[in-house]
């Protein structure tokens, strides 16, 4: 009986692999493709040239006032950003007290980074730090007035600080609220269900700006005479309610994806409704919808800019405010400011979206294992 010895594999023909093969398949597969490639290269070169010319070659990098940015051919006016950087980050938070903001940022990072890394353990302690200790710490540090810290009024807060405060509060408040609303929407009690559906559909049906108007103009009307809410707090409530409605729909998607068998198995073990929900359903359902949750966070982060319309100075608001500074009035100031603010927002949103993709892949390998 003969035995089988496979012929040695030969390398593929040279023009189908390597860079040549890659270029042939991906850039010049057909005449039409070649035309597209040429067109794309032309556009890319043109855009690159414009962007580099503006941001680097024709840009000003140093100076202390507008004359630094009034060249014949003027690109970006970076000294404007440099001069206003502190304002953009802290707003009118007093110079001497800014270390407190830094400390809050640092503590947040320390709490968040290990939380985001799946390989690091102690998630429970980490969670308690982030959701229990950190908010209290941040509140005391930022507002002051106790422990010998000077009080800083929220009207003095601004820039990235306000953006992050609004975003983080919105994120932290909208998740539990959204979960409750999603559970309520699937409740067996008709009144609870109707209220939840009404809340979700109303907030999802109107633009955020009308909610913020409502929060800033109407909320005071609902309160007894003399009681007054801080403007920042009013916005926070508006943003949190608004995003909780969106969060509720995301969570509902996860709940609906749970197979009936999971409920039946939990019931067979004698678990109550709340125990089933907390121990069996939510941990699985939330994991399923992590991408949706992060997308809601990204939307919320971008939406924080709307607070400038009701008179708060978030990052975009404070950049906009400083355009009125006559000592920096140049034709390029606006664009430079917007590009800077845009880059900061982009960095946060892009990082979140990449993280969501990372988690999705991580979880799907988990499930397959």
């Amino acid at each position: 009986m003969s035995s089988f010895t496979p012929t040695t594999p030969r390398p593929a023909p040279a023009n189908t692999v390597g860079f040549v093969g890659w270029a042939r398949d991906n850039l010049f597969a057909t005449k039409f493709d070649t035309a597209l490639t040429v067109l794309a290269v032309t556009i890319i070169l043109y855009v690159m040239k414009a962007v580099f010319g503006w941001a680097i070659i024709d840009a000003s990098f140093s100076g202390t006032e507008r004359t630094a940015c009034l060249k014949e051919v003027q690109g970006a006016c970076w000294p404007f950003i440099e001069a206003k950087f502190g304002q953009f980050i802290y707003g009118r938070y007093p110079d001497a007290e800014r270390w407190r903001v830094d400390l809050v940022f640092a503590a947040g990072l320390i709490g968040l980074v290990p939380m985001l890394m799946p390989s690091v353990g102690h998630k429970r302690a980490n969670m308690i730090f982030l959701l229990g200790f950190y908010p209290v710490f941040a509140f005391i540090m930022l507002t002051g007035g106790v422990l010998g810290l000077a009080a800083v009024d929220t009207t003095d807060w601004g820039g990235l600080l306000v953006t992050l405060v609004v975003a983080v509060t919105g994120i932290v408040a909208s998740l539990p609220l959204g979960i409750l609303l999603a559970l309520g929407r699937r409740s067996d009690l008709p009144i609870v269900r109707a209220l939840c559906i009404g809340f979700i559909e109303i907030f999802r049906g109107v633009p955020l700006i009308t909610v913020l108007f409502m929060a800033s103009v109407m909320l005071p009307l609902f309160l007894p005479d003399g009681v007054n809410f801080d403007k920042l707090v009013r916005c926070l409530i508006g943003v949190a309610l608004f995003s909780s409605a969106y969060m509720a729909e995301v969570v509902r998607g996860g709940l609906q994806a749970m197979p009936k068998g999971q409920y039946e198995a939990a019931a067979a073990l004698g678990l109550s409704y709340w125990k089933t929900t907390r121990l069996i359903i939510l941990p699985q359902a939330l994991k399923l919808v992590i991408p949706g949750i992060v997308n809601t966070f990204i939307g919320l982060f971008k939406d924080t800019t709307l607070v400038l319309i009701v008179g708060l100075f978030d990052l975009l608001g404070i950049v906009q405010l400083h355009f009125t500074d006559a000592s920096w009035a140049t034709p390029e100031t606006h664009i430079t400011g917007y590009v800077f603010a845009g880059a900061v927002f982009w960095l946060f949103c892009f990082a979140m979206s990449r993280y969501s993709i990372f988690m999705e892949n991580h979880l799907s390998t988990d499930r397959n294992a």
């Binding site: 009986m1 035995s3 012929t7 390398p11 023909p13 692999v17």
Partner: protein, 244 residues
């Protein structure tokens, strides 16, 4: 042997740098039934997918009914309307009824009238024994019924060659037989068939030749009796001891 309808000569194919098909030589005569088997990853599916150029080969020649498979679009259309294919995952169009699935190619490729195409489709649905499901959607049928629709859909092109790519692998055991029965009937009517399958009973019953592939090569080919009772190669014997 009469003039072959499929002639494959020194054919080689790579996926990137992976050499999936190595120096394949194969001639198929008109009316011949060939069963191709082998372990997964041996290149058997890729081989039959090269015959209607769902995959393009890089070296060697493939000739179907005297038409050479190169990049030419005209040749490709000729070959595809002469070669029917049945997939492992059925690939019925879920947004069309069974009848619409079957009449698609006659109407849009062969320019038949709708009435003519429908008559033909109903005839063929009768032949695969599901005449009363014509107005249902694929999602309403069982797997075995879906695969029989897929066979009827391919037959509606009036092809001279049929390719089967593991047609029963995605089916529950009790449905395998209903599909195999249809295939046996088709073989008895004299259709040229190439089947990638592990149904050895089917191979014994209808095949003129059984081909065993491994590592992208044809290891052994023989008439079914000799192939099963007296394999020439150790590799084939090992494989048969695992599947039989």
């Amino acid at each position: 042997m009469s003039d072959p309808v499929i002639r494959i000569n020194k054919m080689n194919k790579w996926f990137g740098n992976f050499h999936v098909l190595r120096d394949i030589d194969l001639n198929v005569a008109s009316g011949e039934k060939i069963v191709i088997c082998g372990p997964s990853g041996s290149g058997k599916s890729t081989l039959i997918r090269c015959i209607n150029r769902l995959e393009a080969h890089q070296e060697g020649d493939i000739e179907v009914e005297g038409v050479t498979l190169d990049g030419s679009l005209k040749n490709l259309e000729d070959i595809r309307s002469n070669v029917g294919m049945v997939f492992q995952q059925f690939n019925l169009f879920p947004h069309m009824t069974v009848l619409e699935n079957c009449t698609l190619s006659p109407i849009w490729v062969q320019q038949k009238s709708k009435a003519e195409a429908e008559t033909l489709a109903r005839e063929l649905l009768e032949r695969v024994r599901i005449p009363d499901q014509a107005d249902k959607y694929p999602g309403q049928l069982s797997g075995g019924q879906q695969q029989r629709v897929a066979i009827a859909r391919a037959l509606c092109m009036n092809p001279r060659i049929m390719l089967f790519d593991e047609p029963t692998s995605a089916l529950d055991p009790e449905m395998i037989k209903e599909v195999l029965d249809v295939m046996v009937e088709l073989a008895e009517e004299g259709m040229t068939m190439l089947c990638v399958t592990h149904e050895m009973g089917f191979a014994r019953q209808v095949a003129d030749r059984v081909i065993f592939m491994d590592e992208g090569e044809i290891v052994e080919e023989n008439a079914p009796e000799a192939f099963f009772s007296n394999p020439e190669n150790e590799r084939t014997k090992l494989f048969l001891s695992q599947v039989l």
